[in-house]
Structures are given as C-alpha cells and as structure tokens.
Amino acid sequence: MVNLSVTLAGRELSNPVIPASGTFGFGAEFAKLYDLNILGGISVKGTTPEARAGNPLPRVAECPAGMLNAVGLENPGIDRVLSRELPALTRHYNGTVILNISGFSVADYVEAAEKADASPDAHMLEINISCPNVKHGGMTFGTSAGSAAEVTRAVRSVTRKPVFIKLTPNVTDIVPIATACEAAGADGISLINTLLGMRIDLKTKKPILANMFGGLSGPAVFPVALRMVWQVASAVKIPVIGMGGVSSARDVIEMMLAGATAVQVGAANLKNPFACKEIVEQLPDVMRQYGIRSLREVIGAGYK
C-alpha cells in the first residue's frame, strides 16, 4: 500500500492533487464527468469583490506546449460566489476548498477575505497577487516584497482561515517576495502564476489576444515553475503549493521533490477534462515504480 495523503496548513488532504484556479470554474462542468471527491482539494475561479466581465475576445492563443490566456478575472463577484457557487460545490465535494481572491487594491483583498472568513464552504484562501491580465492591481502587488507583505498583513488581520499567497514568476528574484509574505503572516505560498507572453497573427499582423499580452501556461512553463518552487520552498518554513505545467503523476512527484507540499494542475484540465482524476489514479503506480511508499517523504527530498 502506498500513502498519498499530505497535510496542508493543518488540513489532511487525501492526495496532493488540486485543480488550479481559473481552469476548473467552480467545479460544476467537471462534476458532470467524474466524482470530484477523488481530488485532494479544489482551487476555485479567482474572485473579486464585484462581478467582472473580463477582457475582450480573443482571450486565448496557442503556443508550442502550452497556451496564453488573457481572461481578465471574469467572475460573478464574492457575494454570489459565497452564496451560490461554493455551497453548490460543497454539496457534492467533501475535500478542501481553496477560495482564490483577486483585487485591484488592498481594500479589495480585505473586503473579499473578510466576507470569505465567515463562509463554512471555503477552507483556505489563496490570495492572487499575480494576475498578469488586469491593469492596476493584480500582478503589481506581487512584484515587490513591500506590497506583497502589505496585502498579506491586511488579509491576515481579517481572517483565521489559512492564507496562501499566490506569486508571479514575472520578477527578477521571487525569494525575497516569498520570505516577505512569510514574515507578514502567510500560512503558505502558491506558485507560479502564468508567465507574461504574446503571439502575433501573421495574417492580420496584429497580436492575437485583444489584451495584447497574456499568461503562458502548460508544459512549456514546467521547468521554470519547478526551479522557482525549489528556490522558494528551500527558503521558507511555510508550505508551498507548486504549480505550472503539471500534466502527469511524474510531474506531481517532481514538484514535491522540489519542495511542494501540494500540487495544482492547471492548463492540463482544459486539454483533458479528466486530467486531475487520471493523475490521482496514476500516482500509486508511479510511486511504486520509484520505491516511494508515502508522498510525505518526498516533499523537498530534492534538496534536503
């Protein structure tokens, strides 16, 4: 028997596999395809205090081994998410629900986190200070240690739920930003969000994305994500949720060797709606193949 369970910020997860925010909606589309209870956790679509329509189309473009998106945080707003979407999810999902929160000001993050604190349906908060697709806010909070710490402190002061800060890879050095979040009271770090990129259409000679730039995800970013997870996990004492191009059970274990306590799967869900389920089902075989009896023992084993 192999043991897939991990402990993340005090909560036991049946396995470390979590669909990443923005690639799984609020679970409804996937609940029609398989029993979501196979998932260790679910990070739901990024939520802001007010409903947002998102960016103009086109919002997606293809790349070698990945894709760009510039959705722009389309979401129904925190009130509706807490009153409708999360209760609908927890009616048929018993695992850990991570509420992903975005904002355009410190007050936005505080408002959403304060409301979420009262919800029995959100077990952890993932504070997205790394969205590359919105102006004023989003990623700008995640590109300096000072503003990242400011958001962390403000959110920390209004909730008792575990707070994970989701960081952007679009910085010169991610380590001081992660350690600043840790010092400001974060319970964990999620990384990486997407890498800023673009594509240009040869026919129109203009950018494909209406937003010009978008976030790169998919297998293309996996080595970058792995490197950053390693750098951050070996520099902080709080748990790290690793993500970025994870597409297989082998990728999950590689992320954990780099120091991730749990692993999110993003773009793979869009290519194969059964990706997370298949990864969880494949984990025991891959573990046996490499002589791993418990996933807990591989966390950070790459550098320890």
Partner: protein
Amino acid sequence: MRKGTYSILENRPVARDVYQMRLSGDTAALTAPGQFVNIELDGFYLRRPISVCDWDGSGMTLLYKVLGEGTKALSGYAPGKALDLLVGLGNGFDASEGDRPLLVGGGVGTPPLYGLAKRLAARGATPMVALGFADRPDQILADAFAALGCDVRVALVSENKLVTDILPDTRADRDHYYACGPEAMLRAVHATLPMDGQLSFEARMACGFGACMGCTCQTVAGGKRVCADGPVFRKEEILW
C-alpha cells in the same frame, strides 16, 4: 460530453480548402444539430473545435476548412487513424422551432445546418435554405440540401451577391430562422429578418466545455460562454 477515441473512415477535399471527414465511434453524446467536437491533434497543445455536420448511431461527418497549421495537419490524416475527441459540446439548435423555417449559412458556417435540415425535414418542416460563399469553388452542401427536398438559393460574393441579398426573396412566408456563418453575416441577418431566430457563433476557445472562460461574449442576460451556453443564441439574447 463524452471523451473518446474515434477512427477516421474518410478524409477528403470536397471544395477549395474544405475537407469532409467521416469518423466512426460513439455518438450518444450528440443530442442536437449545431453541437461541436473538440479534436486533439498531434503536436498541438489546444484541441480544434469543429462543428458536426451530421451523425447517426455509428459515427459522424465533419466538414472543416483549412485555416491554419492545426487544420492543415488534420487534413493530412489518413483513414484508419484514431483521434481523441470531446463530443457533444455546446447547446446546438432547438430544432422544434418553426413550421416553415429558413436556414441561412455562410461559408464553413453551413455544415451544422445540414444536420439541422435533416431533422427539420424528418418532422415535416423541410426548410428553405439560403447559402453564401466567396466563389463557386468554395460552395459546399448545396446539392445535399436539395436532395433533402429543400428549396436552395446560393449567393456568391464573386458575383457581387451576399446571402443577405437573396433573403428578401425567401423570407416572406417563413416563420423562424436558423443561421450560422461569419459574424458580419450574422449581424446582417439579425438586422434584416423580422421573425424569431437562432444564430450560431464562433470564437477562439481553449477547453470547449465551459471551464476556461476563454470565449465569453456579452448578451442581454450578461456574459455567456460561446462553447457551453452557446454556440447557438436566440435572436433576442444577442448584443453586438
């Protein structure tokens, strides 16, 4: 929606840059004309969404145009090759509307209207069909509609005619329309035809099943996903 493996029975050119692909496999997830499939291609990260032209219990027919590198690769696949498909995506047309329907198709927006026409004809509401193409070599399916007993009119841009130019002749006693084609055509049809109608849209999309929010358009009822809430929208829902 069903994810499954489908085998290519036929993949051949039927007009300029347009290929007809017949696939065998489980079609139980196809519930309405106007739905689409999302095809995984070797060496491409995102699937390619293609509308279903027609289907039966054992397989389906797709008509697609080679527009980029992905569809170019698709056109080179030989019979016998197995493809991974997501099947039964989108809402499709509600084929119960109209006793004397009119179908309006433009270019490669025409294929899903064929499966629709078949089902309308089966309930005794054989439609009138107005089709628009750039030029004669681009024309598809006109004979197939005629074989169903439809009154078919064709407009060619090369002869300075748009599909909307042939609508005034045909709309008089029509009580419902179904349209699929380029956005400019849909816009003109929406502005021109007085009766109720359903219009099928196209958008760049990633997942095709409602998860990524990559294809949301604005409607009178707020944002709707072209892939999952559409691609067919009712006339009164649409905001341009």
